[in-house]
Symmetry: C2
Subunit: 152 residues, 2 copies
Amino acid sequence: MLEDDEAMEIALAEAALAEEHGDVPVGAVVVRGGVVVARRHNERERRADPTAHAEVLALRDAAAGSGGWRLDGCTVYSTLEPCPMCAGALLAARVDRVVFAAADPKAGACGSLYNLLADPRLNHEPDILAGVLAERAAGLLEAFFATRRTSR
Amino acid sequence: MLEDDEAMEIALAEAALAEEHGDVPVGAVVVRGGVVVARRHNERERRADPTAHAEVLALRDAAAGSGGWRLDGCTVYSTLEPCPMCAGALLAARVDRVVFAAADPKAGACGSLYNLLADPRLNHEPDILAGVLAERAAGLLEAFFATRRTSR
């Protein structure tokens, strides 16, 4: 079985790839039955697609690979606390569990500004684990934004 | 210029198309400069994609057509109040204005359960207009679910 920190390492490696095309370094991994079934990174700039966050892309890949939109049995790992769109996508996909690294005080919807994953009025409540390898994920983001500020 | 009810008529026509492949009838239209730049319907079942709600698909088409993820200047029409994922996508795309028909008391994130479009902590606050052709949109949904209950 893949441990949480091992899966998050893969998500961090994905996040680093986003920088190669000028995207904010966020990565996401979907695991089902102990196996990685999708791994993606943020491609908003690369694809000029406002919905191309790492989590959305990974969920779409996982669903395409399984042949169904319902991703029960899956755990999704993200290097950053999911935003409202991504938290909503995790609910829409009915994932069992969400693990994230760094909190996002500006847009986080899994505990920071909202907790969409723990609302009994909505139709699904996945388990949540926050803070796995958080410092490394936050470090990637800080380094990315520091470079951009310097180069402008 | 396209009036709000004219644009919503197009969204309703899209919604009806979803039923042909067993998807919940919701349609969405993106208008920029008085011109329809995207029109889609819910394709969750057809594509086996948990993120294939009408609004997400329409935003992706509109961005692809414009060459950039930032959809300022756009109004998005949806026949159903956007869910958390779709409301988050509307924020992520920085649309100017959101018009919807029927409210969604079970999952609506634009006034019913949440109002993600009117939160000064998030980075964008589009204008909202609710209730345009609401009865027709709700009627489509009711007829769809009534048929499914009968046939099971």
